[in-house]
Amino acid sequence: MALPSKERKNIYLFLILILGHLILLSIQVPLDQDNPLLKQAFLAVITPVQAGLSWLWQGIESLWTDYIFLRKVKSENQRLEAENLLLRQENLILRQVLERLEKEIEIKERLNQLTSPVVIASVIGSDGGNIFQSLILNRGSKHGIKANMAVLDPEGNLVGRVIGPVLPWSCRVQLITDEASGTAVITSSHGISGVLRGDGRGRCYLDYVLVTSPEISPGEEITTSGLDGLYPAGIRVGRIISVSIENALFKKVEVEPFFQINGLRQVAIIRFDLSRL
């Protein structure tokens, strides 16, 4: 029995769309290729809407919390002013000490690098597929953001790095918990180096730790080693929660990151290369 023409048309349309998606998927294999232009176009259209909505929502939220906590603000402000004063003093002293130790020109160059070294960004979107993979922030190339800049949470723990394409007003962050991420790290007590890889489920694994390497124990902290040339050395990353033997060569070291993805609203993007200082 022949299908009515409208029904046939719908089936053709469906098949064309499926074929289109399959072609789109197939051109992305292998997955390390650049983002397709269509994806960038979609992202460029969606992120301003995301930023606007997020700004509006945060505005409504902050209006409410400002009203409720108005009485607390004054004392908090006084405390922060005092803290700010202390930090300024400390900064001044450190600059003076540094100036005494180094040559003047070199110091000026380095201090210039320190001008606005950190950009505070708001999280405007989590990953559409898996929240442990990426975040979208409301800062982009117009704010001096470039690919591979390190991103930290408000406590100074490593969150991830900015990845391309960086749009004018937004950027995407690959989290250290993403399966495709790799971070050069070092353990705090024995100084064992390895590569930290995410598992896409909120945990990380320390790869390439030899069975013959010194004892690593749960509870040990790990920090960035700086050997990957991406992250500056010394940033807090996470804590080892279990160690087992994976195979004849390597240990299986499970790491819980310090940063908490749930409720993460603000992050700091490090705009300069700390490793050069």
């Binding site: 769309l17 499926i18 998606h21 998927l25 809407v49 559409g128 597929g129 489920r201």
Partner: protein, 156 residues
Amino acid sequence: MKEIRKSFISPLIFGIALILQILWRSVPHSYVDLFNFLSVAVILLALRHGEGAGAIGGSVAGLIQDSLTLHLFGLAGLTKTCLGFAVGLAYRKLNLTPFINQLLFIFAAGSLELFLWAGLANLIFTFHPPIESGSFWLQPLGTTLLSGFLFRLIKS
């Protein structure tokens, strides 16, 4: 006038779904996978206008979802196209007039979409969907309840 108003309902649903999806995922939280508002919009579109509109709506909604994901572009587009087409076709061919039948069918279609997406992502593209999150598995239920309720509301 009534016709014009009627023709605005679908774009309006799509727009609201997009806004809700963005707001719902604007800050990461534990229940982020509980609702997929874009799937709800695709189901409503398919129920109202049939499989053709469902497939096109599914493609667009899926690509929007994919643009906000890190690794794959086109996967949600593929699965949501199937969802829109299947829901539209089944609603026309099967007897889905009783509300409970509608809910059961939407639940089956939503589950199928989720399994297809998770399966393709995991098996072919080797990236892991958040299957350990409880709210991920509750997504078909959330989608069903929202879609069923909204469709009834629109029809009434």
